[in-house]
Amino acid sequence: MSKALRVRVRGWLRGGSRSPLWPTAVVLVTAVAVCAAAPLLAPHDPNAQPDPFGGRLQPPGTELQAIALERGGWMLADRVERTGDGLRIWRGDRIETLDADDVANLTPDGVADRWYFPLGSDAFSRDVLSRWLYGGRLSILIGVCSVALSLILGLGVGATAALGGRAADAILMRIVDGILSVPWFFLLIALRAVLPPSTLILIIVLGATSWMGIARLARSEIMSLRQRDFVHAARGLGLRETTVFLRHILPNAATPLAVSAVLTVGYVIVAEAALSFLGLGVPTPHASWGTMIEDGRHHMARAWWLLSLPAGGLVALVLTLHLFADRLRDAMDPRRRTPASPSPFARPSAGPSSVHADQ
């Protein structure tokens, strides 16, 4: 890293004295790292259903006796007692007996294995912690990939509109207005309902419907930058148009675009959860926070952890993204670094507007 860049990055992280960037950055990076490491951290396979009868809807912190069956698979029981020729087991409200021949992990006073649910289990006896981690990973992955796509589309359309002459500008911006006047969520449901269910298609649909805000922003940024003296100077020096664009215009438009992209990631993650909640998002049995919320909804009266945990994850992530975008904007804009007004409020956001409103 060059010294100039190092100083700049340090400046960003320190940000304004009132709102430094680094705490939110640390939280965000940790959250992403934890979710990305789901395969290492998850205690169980997120889709494993060890015993849909004995292990269903267990509250957080439950440890069950795991009986390995000779014919394969598991039985989970609250209590196991060794009798003369086998086992007596308590599962839910039932007491059953098993022959010793059927059990593979027999010990003198019961069975050798335990099945621990740190955050409880769902209606199919799947481990909620594992699903939560994998679900977060999928939600973040979908958010980031979709926004990468929408960034490409938005930048392409915005730059074409800004640099391609009046006709191209008028046509493209009318199209943007047109798409924007159909509520975003409406468009998403319609597209998802007619396309086959798959995570890849979901990413494409989310990306293809969330680029309009970025396109508008890119257009206005590029248009105003094009008139600036240093761009005229670069052109006057005889640089090629592409070089002027890539080296002088684009880097200066990067800050607002990055802020808008971070906010869009938040919106897209919420949209994915909402779609999954309606059964139009991530196909079953894959865990995403949206599908987990949908699962939890049917057991609200009995199992609070099924709804509250994924909902909490979603809210915390989106909140962190919003804060991060806000701090990023402050940090990268020197004019805002000295806090003029001690405002605890987020500034009006760029990106697809009123996403919550559409829902």
Partner: protein
């Protein structure tokens, strides 16, 4: 002023046609033919052909498009495939429930936002200001459907204070007219509250920053010097000056909300436009989807047009800077 309106109207009309075109081709180019809805093992090839001809699906796409556009513009929105009723009737029937929910929610949102914004602006940086700011920020990050589900869980199921879903109770028909009003109001509390809570943060922000700009002005000092009571200075002299951006925002968001708060209505099983459109999309009830999209397009364009005109009327600078 009139040339401003004409210009704005022309571009709105153009946009409307664009939206209609977009929706039409989107739906017709998607895989899955509506004729399959009528598929049954006993249907002969001829009867399927008959259905295609009846609905005009045997004709080339551009011809279908022309016919459909003409029909829509003359007010004939077709017949729902699944319910065999005119689409217009179907949508109009659902509108009051959505309007009730949205208007209550938006009113609540503005009452809450105005009160909090004004109180926060009176002492910027004070405790109330900071707490309100944090609260608004957090609530802005909570998706409406998540808040709705959590409210159902904690305020309707675990603590059965409010009904969890639907607009009316089972015994609604047997209630007196006052009882019916109370019943609907009881059902309305949670969804309207959710709508207000996820949206009021922006109102607080607008009102607060607007007031901070205005409170330093001369006319406020004059009002104070006249010896007016503080509430009069705030609410009669200062607050109206902050309403511009709020009206603008309402012009954009109200039509969107009216044309279907899909997921909120699904969560609360609210019998409004949103649930109707959601069901129609899942059943590929094309006429309903197309009509709803068109309706929402008209509402959104009309709303932003009205907001722009109102803004231009209030602020001459906008008029001259347009396009």
């Amino acid at each position: 002023m009139s040339s401003f309106i004409v210009r704005r109207l022309a571009s709105a009309l153009l946009l409307l046609v664009l939206i209609l075109t977009l929706t039409f081709f989107l739906i017709h180019l998607a895989p899955g033919e509506p004729a399959r809805l009528f598929e049954n093992p006993h249907a002969t090839a001829e009867s399927q052909e008959e259905i295609r001809r009846l609905y005009g699906w045997d004709r080339p796409l551009h011809e279908q498009y022309g016919r459909w556009l003409g029909a829509v513009l003359t007010g004939d929105w077709g017949v729902s495939f699944t319910q065999r009723r005119p689409v217009f009737e179907l949508l109009i029937e659902r509108l009051p429930a959505t309007a009730l929910l949205v208007l209550t929610g938006v009113t609540l949102e503005h009452l809450l936002g105005l009160w909090m914004g004004v109180t926060a602006a009176r002492r910027p940086g004070g405790r109330f200001d900071v707490i309100t700011g944090r609260l608004a920020l957090i609530l802005h990050a909570v998706p409406a459907f998540v808040l709705g589900l959590l409210m159902i869980e904690w305020l309707a199921i675990r603590a059965p204070i409010f009904p969890p879903q639907h607009m009316t109770s089972v015994d609604y028909p047997s209630l007196s007219s006052w009882g019916r009003v109370l019943d609907i109001a009881h059902h309305l509390v949670l969804p309207a509250l959710v709508l207000a809570l996820v949206r009021f943060g922006a109102v607080v922000r607008f009102v607060r920053s607007g007031l901070l700009d205005v409170l330093g002005c001369d006319f406020i000092r004059t009002a104070r010097a006249k010896g007016l009571p503080e509430w009069r200075v705030l609410w009669i002299h200062a607050v109206p000056n902050t309403l511009g951006p709020l009206i603008q925002r309402l012009g954009v968001s109200l039509p969107r909300l009216l044309s279907g708060t899909v997921i909120l209505e699904v969560v609360f099983a609210w019998p409004g436009l949103g649930t109707a459109v959601y069901a129609a999309i899942l059943q590929r009830d094309y006429p309903v989807v197309l009509a709803a999209t068109a309706l929402s397009g008209v509402l959104v364009l009309g709303g932003s047009l009205l907001a722009d005109v109102a803004h231009a009327w209030l602020d001459p600078r906008v008029r001259d800077h347009y396009v």
